[in-house]
Amino acid sequence: MILSIASGKGGTGKTTVAVNMALSVSENQNLQFLDCDVEGPNAHFFIKAALDKEKIAYLPCPEIDENKCTFCGRCAEICAYNALAVLKESVLTFPELCHGCGACRLFCPENAIKENGRRIGVIRKGPAGNILFITGKLDIGQAMSPPLIRQIKKMIDHQQDVILDVPPGTSCPMVEAVKGSDHTLLVTEPTPFGLNDLKLSVDTLKQMEIPFSVVLNRSRSANSIIHEYCRKEKIPLVLEIPLDRKIAEAYSKGETLISIDPSYKTKFLALFNSLKS
């Protein structure tokens, strides 16, 4: 099973749920953990893996052979991202705009374009007990996280269970990360912000036809706007974590939820098993 942990709003507790779920489940079995929140990867603070393997992630980017180039302008005309500009006797490339689609190389009439790898980030992996931990980190100044997320997901072993920490939001990085999941847990909080962004994520997952359920973090009552929404929309609310300053204090130090309250271990395990079946 590929289980992804997402949320529209940031800071609702995605990483907390993903990490504690992985640590609880891994007591009985092997699994892969993928931190796909490449703009702000944080799971490594809680799952202490020996990250002994490292791979630089590249995105193809055009390089012009000006000896072959006739400055016809076809590449600039074709590029959907304005990543090329053709002047009288030179071609300018803007690598930070390039999506690496390959159109310029493919349609250059003179075969004057080849593609080079442009570094966008780094992927590290290593074991932590029964967990194979994989994490990606986008380089500073790089705009595009989806290609890096795609490369992390290529490392998925389909024979194993996978827990995946998703970036916040509902746009392309989130879509790239949850794509192909068997189930997504949407973590939210009982505030108007939490509800607003939960609705957006629900719309996105419905479009993608991925089954989902809700985890309510910082819960303050048994009858919040999230309870009401889930009831109305018939979305299962599968776990609640109460609002507790102690949890926030422990989190600030990099301590896990299951270490301060071991009863969560059974809760996470039961939830994982029920989703799997």
Partner: protein
């Protein structure tokens, strides 16, 4: 601070350059929107912009009255025309985004959520069985609020081009500020360090980074400050919920000192924030707010830079 809002625009010196200030954080949920709304409530002469376009929340605090509505066309998407298809499979092999897939029986399907509009499939199809269609991927609005004009947007769920939409919102907010002589554009930014953050950040006068004294928030703060330095934008820092971990708070303040980051203030952990948000009112307007003075002081420190 005279405590009075709604100073007329003519009281401000004409010709003064508009200051653009973006509130960002790296990690989500550290309090960007709550602080933006709180500053809006304390400020006197601002235009507001919500650039967290894929999870826009500021409207829930400032209650806009929408005056203009525009659709946002981000780019193109590939659309499959089955009648013309000869099932050669070239498009499937050329698509680098996994958007064009072949189904059982040779048919093609194009996933609009994966398509990045590069045109490779359409241009290479020998039988013109793929067309590029402009895709409306969001909306943007110009609104009136009691705090000043507000430019905001909504990216449709699952869409891309959030950076472009951010640029549209920012351009309009700046135009309004310039032509009506507002002093500040206050931008509520997105989490992370990627495309929409870069679009929110580029060319602003100050990037205010809201963090919390947790290891994860500090890690993400450092990354977003590096990003802001990378784009030559001056960074400043605010610590929210500072008393959750006073030791980490001291470390952040020291880090800011060592790294030439302006420290603007710290705000206590308080239950009243949740209550204020639930009622849709900025914290300084919440009755008997205990942290109002901390927020006020932070805003004064920010304002005094200019």
């Amino acid at each position: 601070m005279n405590g009075k809002r709604g100073k007329t625009q003519s009281e401000y010196k004409p010709g003064k350059k508009v200051k653009q200030i973006v509130i960002i954080s790296g990690k989500g949920g550290t309090g960007k929107t709550i602080l933006t709304a709180s500053f809006a409530s304390l400020a006197e002469n601002i235009v507001l912009a919500d650039c967290d376009v894929d999870a826009a929340n500021l409207y829930l605090m400032v209650h806009p009255e929408i005056k203009e509505k525009h659709s946002f066309t981000g780019g193109e998407k590939a659309v499959y025309v089955e009648e013309k298809c000869t099932f050669c499979g070239l498009c499937v092999s050329l698509c680098r985004f996994g958007a064009v897939r072949s189904l059982n029986g040779g048919k093609i399907s194009i996933d609009p959520l994966s398509c990045e509009g590069c045109r490779v499939c359409a241009l290479s199809c020998p039988s013109q069985a793929i067309e590029m269609k402009p895709s409306v991927c969001g909306e943007w609005y110009v609104s009136r609020t009691k705090y000043g004009p507000f430019v905001h947007a909504r990216l449709h769920p699952g869409e891309e081009n959030s950076g472009k939409l951010v640029s549209v919102v920012r351009k309009k907010a700046k135009e309004i500020a310039e032509s009506n002589k507002y002093e500040f554009v206050l931008i509520d930014g997105p989490p992370g360090i990627g495309c929409p953050v870069i679009a929110s950040l580029s060319g602003v006068d100050l990037a205010v980074v809201v963090t919390e004294p947790s290891l994860t928030a500090v890690h993400d703060m450092e990354r977003v400050i590096e990003t802001s330095n990378h784009f030559n934008v001056k960074p400043a820092c605010i610590i929210n919920k500072y008393d959750i971990n006073e030791k980490n708070t001291q470390n952040i303040i020291q880090w800011c000192r060592n790294n030439n980051v302006l420290f603007l203030g710290k705000i206590s952990y308080s239950d009243e924030v949740n209550k204020a948000v639930s009622q849709g009112i900025p914290v300084p307007e919440y009755p008997n707010s205990k942290i109002k003075n901390e927020i006020k002081q932070t805003w004064m420190n920010l304002k005094n830079i200019y």
